[in-house]
Subunit: 327 residues, 2 copies
DNA sequence: CCGCATTATGACAACGTTGTCTCACTCGGG
DNA sequence: CCCGAGTGAGACAACGTTGTCATAATGCGG
């Protein structure tokens, strides 16, 4: 900036005035300054500006499990849309379902003085955020609640959705229903399992632990589980997939199986409607989840001091075929 | 920081030393400082630090068309992985295929002094980046080349891939092949169309312009195009989808059609192998694209001054069934 | 007990901006 | 011709850090 000032023959402050479109600069002077800026390719350093003004940094942080997972990327997009409408940019990071990494990313973002933080938590302990929140960085948890602190949270109705899935299958004659979930350390997985159990109870079928498998979904783990669940002497006739990852691996494992159970998947996913048979899902609006969380965050950023809120978004069953009959 | 210093009864510089793990601080002093830091919930301001040190900001910018599109989110993930390994964070932004927005995002990121910029360009004019590049911000273009400047670029073999797709269909007896691409303003779309034409020539079938439709893919545009292409008196017996968006809409439009042409899609996509019939695709490694571009960017960041490079990654046809026979 | 290296600490400036205050100059009215 | 208001511009400090240098306190050999 001082280079520009020297070239234009003005003071550095005048350059600042021009850059900020402040009035009270003579048009001739402004023109000289603009010319110098062009010539030198000057661009003001936003970091320094924010430091001096003590204002917002114009960024928010988003910590998810994996920005490459379609579920989180859709979330990311929704968040970005709101952020843009508030003139902010988004710093993203993938925790990889590792709570240390989640913590690292979150604190790093705080050190960068993001205006707010959106977290899909990997772990259960969030005491580390208390000082940051006290220092004025709003935090909103989404998809999963915070472990041991009170904070704004936006969730979907995992429990109700899974109960509905069980009901749907029972209405179509199934009594031996298996549940294939993600690792039980993950809130949504645990909650959906709880819904499965509750659904069994409400629909008068026995909850059979041998029909449940909870683990990080990979082709191998899901393949192994599915062979066990539908291969035995008294096999399940229907399966509930605990999330879109499980569903995808499950579908692949079943593609060439002789016996193909009925299927309901928690989470909608692209092309589910074009498979044969089309996959019945418990759908929820991922964009709405991102929007709601981001809107809440920006309300906080703009000074909303009300008590922490907990929002639970509805889910709905989309019957496409795979839940009505065996595949 | 001065609060911490006051509480610990030391100078602000000593706090700095403790925070930075510099030697030559007495253990007792350090302990007092650490206690004060804990008590006050202090976290050093990375913005100020970077300003003072004049070092890197520890961030890179990534501008894509839509972070929510599975293609770009996979790219995002790959970039993030490399960035993390170099201790950087990623600022992402979606241009929405709008060149003004692309420019806005890129320049904003430069003003934030990102250490480097990865751009999937929406427009064809990139002169606006020249001052930034001259000022030392390395820029790598990926998936599409820069419009009017010389810069590092990482592409996939759009031309060769589409030629291969045509060849595959011709080998399976098709002579009336349609091409459904994205808007011809998009480099990859134009290039694939060029490959289609070249493929027709090389395989001795006539290139028929009435079998080509190039437009932004939506359910409506693709539906309309497909009705025209396979509905007429002399319909196409095979279709090449120009990218994964086109393919998805195309599959949906064909789901209940009487006549279903053979299909090859440029870009692999999730579940393509589980459709009926499984979709034959021109696959390319999106992660490799992101990795290559990010690696190149970090080489530049670390001072590589060699001539701008142009990398073209190979693609390969994955025959799954939809290209061998009509659907 | 002195001198000198070593260790621990602090004062100060600087990074690139912008807010505040001050100053010089112009202009119009009395 | 003087004065007050208005206009345009600069000097300076400050944002929160860290690099440089200076200085005080300590230890050790002679």
């Amino acid at each position: 900036m001082s280079d520009v000032a020297r070239l234009a023959g003005v003071s550095i402050k005048t350059v600042s005035r021009v850059v900020n479109d402040e009035p009270a600069v003579h048009p001739d002077t402004a023109e000289r300054v603009v010319a110098a800026i062009e010539q030198l390719g000057f661009r003001r350093n936003l970091g320094a500006r924010n430091l001096r003004r003590g204002s917002t940094t114009g960024t928010i942080g988003l910590v998810v499990e994996d920005v490459g997972n379609p579920f989180y990327s859709e979330l990311n997009r929704a968040v970005e849309r709101i952020a843009t409408s508030f003139g902010r940019h988004v710093l993203t990071g993938s925790s990889g379902e590792n709570s240390d990494r989640e913590r690292e990313l979150s604190l790093e973002f705080c050190a960068r003085r993001v205006d707010g933080l959106l977290i899909v938590p990997a772990g259960l302990q969030h005491g580390y955020l208390v000082p940051e929140m006290r220092a004025g960085t709003p935090v909103v948890f989404l998809d999963r609640p915070a472990g041991d602190i009170v904070a704004d949270t936006v969730l979907v109705d995992n429990l109700g959705g899974t109960i509905e899935a069980v009901g749907h299958l029972v209405r179509h004659g199934h009594r031996r229903i298996a549940f294939l979930g993600d690792s039980p350390d993950i809130f949504t997985a645990a909650e959906r399992l709880r819904g499965f159990r509750e659904g069994c109870v409400r629909n008068g079928i026995s909850y059979d632990e041998s029909l449940v498998a909870m683990q990080t979904p990979t082709p191998e783990t899901v393949g192994h589980a599915v062979r066990k669940l539908i291969g035995g002497p008294n096999p399940a006739t229907a399966v509930i997939a605990g999330n879109n990852r499980v569903a995808v691996h499950l579908l692949r494992a079943l593609a060439h199986a002789e016996r193909r159970p009925a299927l309901v998947s928690f989470d909608d996913f692209e092309l589910a409607d074009l498979l044969d048979p089309p996959v019945t899902v418990i759908a929820h609006d991922v964009s709405a989840l991102g929007h709601a969380a981001a809107e809440l965050l920006f309300a906080r950023i703009q000074g909303d001091q009300s008590a922490p809120r907990k929002v639970v978004l509805p889910v709905h069953l989309v019957a496409r075929g795979s839940g009505e009959a065996a595949l």
